[in-house]
């Protein structure tokens, strides 16, 4: 495709990507360079477009759940949660308390997993290999916990419409306890490697600054917004899943540069750990699925031994249920920002339209604002990494 850039004089127009180790996926950045200074940068996306929104129109609401895992695949549980909350709001389903607490635990674990992956790969982009190994060591523990309760590491589809799929086991709680007990020390390890590191500081301080006004005007959300000085988090502003019952703080920065974004995410790791500890201490008993027989599947052991459960399972799986007509928009605080689902229902078991609002898409659009005319090619790498994009969510 043609590029909307024109060469002036001795300038070069170069492609960074779509195959590039530092663009975090198949992102193509077209750079207009005068020497090493970046005059213009145009992000060109769509290389990972899979048509998820269109695919959702052809599948029932229950089948669409597995597609939502594949949006921000570093924090799949959060995507499930956002989708489930949207559908539950449309149908008026109340999720039982135990399921809500489990959902909070999973969402915060996803946040930790996503941020750990981000720290490891961002440091790798800047040139530091060691944090990568340490961060992935902890991320392995989180993924093992996901596998314990859902059988899958990256795309669990565990949080479903009406609650969560299976109850958590004592082994899971044990693993979670040992994880949260020791995680603070590991955060100190990562900080020891990076936070006061002079190379790190000179690569990220005052690089790709996004001012407070720019951040708000461009519609950024998540750590990018908070690093620019706006203390806004959906968990505090419009609490969902019982977040109003937990004590935690929203870290925010003042400068809006890459270093602040790094510090915000680092501090969010601590706060997530804090939330998980509180959730574990207050885990109520009770059912984990709402009693809504028209859309929530019966227990699998029942399905295999009882004709009534088998019939209900058949009907729900083949899409013979009905969802109330109407439209809904619901969003949550994903690790990367605001993930929102706008669903239009025509009364049948398949959505008429499902629009996914992706924070990475919006945040990525601020890249030219951060970079153009101010920085060099090496800083593009630092800037792109600090926005924390996942192309699965950008392109859908």
């Amino acid at each position: 495709m043609t590029v909307p850039l024109e060469k002036v004089g001795e300038e070069m127009i170069l492609n960074m990507g779509p195959q590039h180790p530092a663009t975090h996926g198949v992102l193509r950045l077209v750079l207009q360079l005068e020497g090493e200074v970046v005059k213009r940068v145009v992000p060109m996306i769509g290389y990972l477009h899979r048509g998820i929104e269109k695919l959702c129109e052809e599948r029932t609401y229950i089948q669409n759940l597995v597609l939502t895992d594949r949006l921000d695949y570093t924090a799949a549980m959060s995507n499930n949660l956002s989708y489930a909350l949207a559908v539950e709001r449309l149908c008026g389903i109340e999720v039982p308390e135990r399921a809500q607490v489990i959902r909070v635990i999973m969402a915060e674990l996803s946040r930790i997993a996503a941020h750990l992956l981000w720290i490891g790969t961002y440091a790798l982009d800047i040139g530091a290999i060691t944090p990568f190994f340490y961060c992935f060591r902890e991320r392995e523990k989180v993924l093992d916990m996901f596998e314990m309760i859902s059988g899958q590491r990256i795309t669990p589809s565990y949080i479903c419409i009406g609650g969560v799929r299976k109850d958590i086991t004592p082994e899971f709680l044990e693993a979670l306890k040992s994880f949260t007990d020791t995680f603070e020390t590991y955060i100190l390890d990562y900080e020891a490697l990076l936070t006061k590191n002079p190379i790190w500081l000179s690569r990220t301080r005052d690089v790709a600054v996004l001012s407070r006004e720019e951040a708000i005007n461009w519609g950024t959300t998540g750590p990018v917004l908070r690093a620019s000085g706006v203390q806004f988090d959906f968990r505090k502003a419009t609490p969902y899943c019982g977040y109003e019952n937990y004590e935690f703080e929203i870290p925010y920065g003042t400068n809006g540069d890459c270093y602040d974004r790094y510090r915000v995410r680092m501090e969010e790791l601590r706060q997530s750990n804090r939330i998980i500890k509180q959730a574990m201490a207050n885990l109520p008993d009770g059912p984990i699925l709402a009693d809504v027989p028209y859309v929530v599947m019966p227990d699998k052991s029942d399905v295999l031994t009882d004709i009534e459960a088998l019939i209900k399972h058949f009907k729900i799986a083949s899409g013979a249920f009905q969802i109330p007509k109407g439209e809904v928009y619901s969003s949550i605080e994903n690790p990367k920002g605001e993930l929102g689902f706008y669903i239009v229902s025509d009364g049948s078991s398949r959505p008429y339209r499902m629009r996914i609002k992706s924070s990475c898409f919006v945040n990525l659009s601020t890249l030219p604002v951060m970079i153009e005319g101010r920085h060099m090619v090496a800083d593009v790498v630092a800037a792109v990494g600090s926005i924390d994009i996942v192309l699965g969510e950008v392109d859908r």
């Binding site: 027989p293 295999l304 004709i307 009534e308 009907k315 083949s318 013979a320």
Partner: protein, 349 residues
């Protein structure tokens, strides 16, 4: 006459049942055994309604309206009664849905889903799950009969006795062992009426090797090609093959009734033996030839036979499986071009 149903008044006539009135006025009463084309069966007990002045609920399908009747079609106790009916059926129903032909368009499934929205119908800790039992011999090879899936609605028995008039089926034995049996199997004409009215997967058709779920197939309404009555039927088509024939009960001339040819005679459509190219016998063997060669050969030979032995030495046999237009052109060809009245048609044979 005026009756009151659920607080609303309706004008009714002598000879109507409560169910007739409800259906005519869009009031929903759940049914399982009710069939419009036969007299009320009354074997399921789902359509119970409460009538003021009667101590027990009555079956709406077989109770005739009287002047001034006050009827309630829905109440918590009626709901409980209907749930017990379903519970009794479910206790002996095998766990066949994944392998049953009827799943997806099964009346029992619809009822269980609808009633189960308020909660469970049966406590599954009672009894052990029933598993699939093989089909048994039936009165015709075109239909498979799974007695374990039968809900004893007796639609098939009544349809065969009243509507078709052959009386092949009876209900044998009592209680838990009750089943439908083709006691007078010699009477069976394979018309498939029992197959068409069975609400569950007890009777399934045995002709097409390919099966499809309801959302995988397209339903095409067409006219049966076989005889001059021209019954209207619906072909269920999946993956470009006909898998089943269903009917719409409201369309003349047959109002949902078919004979064995209409019901089971669709194999020829996708048969492997259908010709795709003209074949000419050379050296004792059939060989594929082009249309020009075939037509030239036919024209030469027919003309020479007509000249040597006269027009009446040639006869033409058409087919019921062609369209009317094709058959018209064929007999026109025989009569006008060849000049003979020796034209016949496979349906007359």
């Amino acid at each position: 006459m005026v009756v009151t149903i659920n607080g609303r008044q309706f004008e009714v006539e002598q000879g109507q049942t409560i169910l007739d009135v409800a259906r005519a006025n869009d009031i929903y009463i759940p049914t399982l055994c009710y069939l419009e084309k036969v007299s009320p069966i009354g074997s399921c007990g789902l359509c119970v309604v409460e009538v003021e002045g009667q101590s027990e609920p009555v079956q709406a399908c077989s109770t005739y309206v009287e002047d001034g009747m006050v009827i309630i079609t829905d109440s918590p106790s009626l709901f409980e009664t209907r749930r017990k009916v379903l519970e009794r059926i479910l206790e002996r129903h095998p766990l066949d849905c994944p392998v049953c032909d009827k799943a997806g368009e099964c009346r029992l499934q619809d009822l269980v889903y609808e009633f189960g929205l308020e909660g469970r119908i049966a406590d599954h800790r009672v009894g052990i799950p029933r598993l699939q039992e093989p089909p048994v011999t039936y009165s015709t090879p075109g239909i498979k009969y799974y007695p374990s899936r039968c809900v004893l609605c007796q639609r098939c028995v009544h349809v065969c006795m009243e509507h078709v008039g052959r009386g092949v089926l009876v209900v044998n034995e009592e209680g838990d062992k009750a089943r439908i049996e083709p006691l007078y199997a010699d009477n069976c004409i394979s018309c498939g009426e029992c197959l068409a009215v069975c609400p569950v997967g007890a009777l399934t058709e045995n002709v097409s090797p390919l099966k499809a779920r309801p959302w995988q197939k397209k339903v095409v309404r067409t006219v049966c090609p076989y005889c001059g009555v021209g019954c209207v039927l619906e072909l269920n088509v999946a993956r470009n093959k006909v898998v089943k024939v269903t009917v719409d009960d409201t369309i003349p001339p047959n109002y949902g009734t078919l004979c064995v040819k209409g019901r089971f005679g669709f194999e020829f459509i996708n048969s492997e033996e259908r010709l795709k190219k003209p074949l000419l016998r050379k050296n004792g063997e059939f060989q594929e030839v082009s249309w020009e060669e075939a037509l030239d050969f036919v024209a030469d030979k027919l003309s020479s036979i007509k000249n040597e032995a006269g027009s009446d030495a040639i006869a033409g046999l058409a087919s019921a499986k062609c369209t009317n237009e094709d058959n018209y052109v064929f007999q026109k060809f025989m009569r006008a071009v060849i000049g003979t009245n020796n034209v016949d048609h496979c349906a007359r044979l």
